[in-house]
Symmetry: C2
Subunit: 361 residues, 2 copies
Amino acid sequence: MKTLKIANIPGDGIGKEVVPAATDVLKAISDIHGGLKFEFTNFPWSCEYYLEHGEMMPEDGLERLKDFDSIFLGAVGNLKLVPDHISLWGLLIKIRREFEQVINIRPAKVLDGVRSPLLNPKDFDLIVVRENSEGEYSSVGGKIYQGEDEIAIQNAIFSRKGTERAMRFAFELAAKRRKRVTSATKSNGIYYSMPFWDNVFEDVSKDYPEISTDSQHIDALSAFFVTHPERFDVIVASNLFGDILTDLGAAIMGSVGIAPAANINVNGKYPSMFEPVHGSAPDIVGKGIANPIGQIWTAKMMLDHFGEEELGSTLLDVVESVTRDGFLTPDIGGKHTTKEVTDEIINRLKAVDKKGITSEG
Amino acid sequence: MKTLKIANIPGDGIGKEVVPAATDVLKAISDIHGGLKFEFTNFPWSCEYYLEHGEMMPEDGLERLKDFDSIFLGAVGNLKLVPDHISLWGLLIKIRREFEQVINIRPAKVLDGVRSPLLNPKDFDLIVVRENSEGEYSSVGGKIYQGEDEIAIQNAIFSRKGTERAMRFAFELAAKRRKRVTSATKSNGIYYSMPFWDNVFEDVSKDYPEISTDSQHIDALSAFFVTHPERFDVIVASNLFGDILTDLGAAIMGSVGIAPAANINVNGKYPSMFEPVHGSAPDIVGKGIANPIGQIWTAKMMLDHFGEEELGSTLLDVVESVTRDGFLTPDIGGKHTTKEVTDEIINRLKAVDKKGITSEG
Ligand SMILES: CC(C)[C@H](C(=O)O)[C@@H](O)C(=O)O
Ligand SMILES: CC(C)[C@H](C(=O)O)[C@@H](O)C(=O)O
């Protein structure tokens, strides 16, 4: 019997709706698959928590998370209560950094039954490997003067270690896929960091002669996500560029509500964190119509991470059978609720079980 | 008689094909409209020029450009000859900065007869106002250590003056349009510059109570360009975000080959520069199939800039009649050449003339 201790942080907005939904799915999987147990612990850290406590998580928050097998997070941010940079740097980005979750993996492909906004999406199936700990997301910088002379300086910091690590991860992943890595750069406009990024990419690529490579400036690459997403296999990108590309990836999939993600701690010192691409979506909070698929697909990535790839595939197959049969929330053109979609997934998981889910674990 | 002195810099790749095409169109306009004359002077500054002279333009290059009424540029960059950051900072970005072309205006809308890659592009008609002189495009920064400890630091520099200037430009533009300005931010991830950007936006917006505003993080905004481009009127963005959004704008229009742009010197001290969104497109150089419309539409923006808005509209109407009737280069699904499309535009301009082009100039 394998027991996995999961720290649930629903966070803000629809995070509070989709984390419970995906948790129910994981519980159903555990009911079906006797050998696997989840123990969920809930942490109410959020913007509301901030209003009460003056911080996004308690001072010993990281200490309390550190022995979990993984963190399952919904969404963070509620501009009406807390400025975004305070809420994000106090919780989501803090965990990513302190727990050295240096890689963010974000796949994009169209699910059957989900209409892409593209006229001809072909069959794209790509994964963005996003550097998740440094780069443009940095709290180094500051301001000088007030009033009309005010100047803000923002440092982006790229280490060879961090850059290389993300790139190697991308190459290893591509080796198991279609053997192609695209580097997202902007070395024509950004003077120091991006030519450096290009150099590291060139160096790393020499160790992987069997992988074909190309580099694209982020502006052109963003456009290619719209015009030719099928061209890409694995894309390696800086923190900011990865952020932009993965929202684009979600958009061409049909909805940011279905896109999954995993923040991976690669040195095994701390838990990894599983968190979908979407945000807290204040416009639809409380209506019961948030798409649970992003969070559920994210749960699949968590299963994969625990070595339960077969269970993971089964789960994604079931999700896709549900979208194929038209159980869709409004963001992807349907009329179903969060609960209806979730229940359908759970029922079908139970039906699959009759035919037998096996586990590698 | 108004005589306008234009400095043509075809630059690299297809720049050398589309600048002559658009120049022919401007000559035809001048033939038709007796009151307007263009004097073109050609500058061969490019990556090939660099190979010969060790610099992208001569030392007195700016001096030689400064008394022209405007600069008409094709594209810069040829990675096979010169690293991008050298070629761009030595020519395109240098001119933008030294001539204080602090605003880059880039409209996006679908032309009749050009198929958007979107399933349902609706009738979007937006303009991105890009801050064009500072922000993430900065040559401040550097590197430390070699080998595995190497670190690159890149500074982004945002002044209140520069930020406010771009924003005011956007508000003034929106006042003449649908009265809506969207700010592209990323204040949830980028700690100093973007919260600063948000503050300036809030301050400036107070002076324009009749304009409605919203702020979107660049990741979500990029996704909205794919899912709901019709929501936007004027978007104000930093140098990098504007760069990304305008390639996306070009993509949803159907091709980066048709998207126009203008680098505006707002204080009247130096010439403005007109340069389409697309790059030098090494893959199609020499085939005679480059789409001339981006450069020709850019010429329309130059006419507008000279107060010849009526001529500008006539030109765009003619271009759209040509795409509507299926004279399309391969990038937008046709089989026509650069020359065929250009000739058709020129012939139709002549036909319009029989009905009379009038000028405000
Ligand atoms: C070539 C490059 C430096 C340039 C930019 O990023 O500004 C181009 O992409 C553009 O948009 O004009
Ligand atoms: C909320 C925000 C800070 C975050 C990011 O930019 O990393 C989000 O957009 C994401 O992609 O996970």
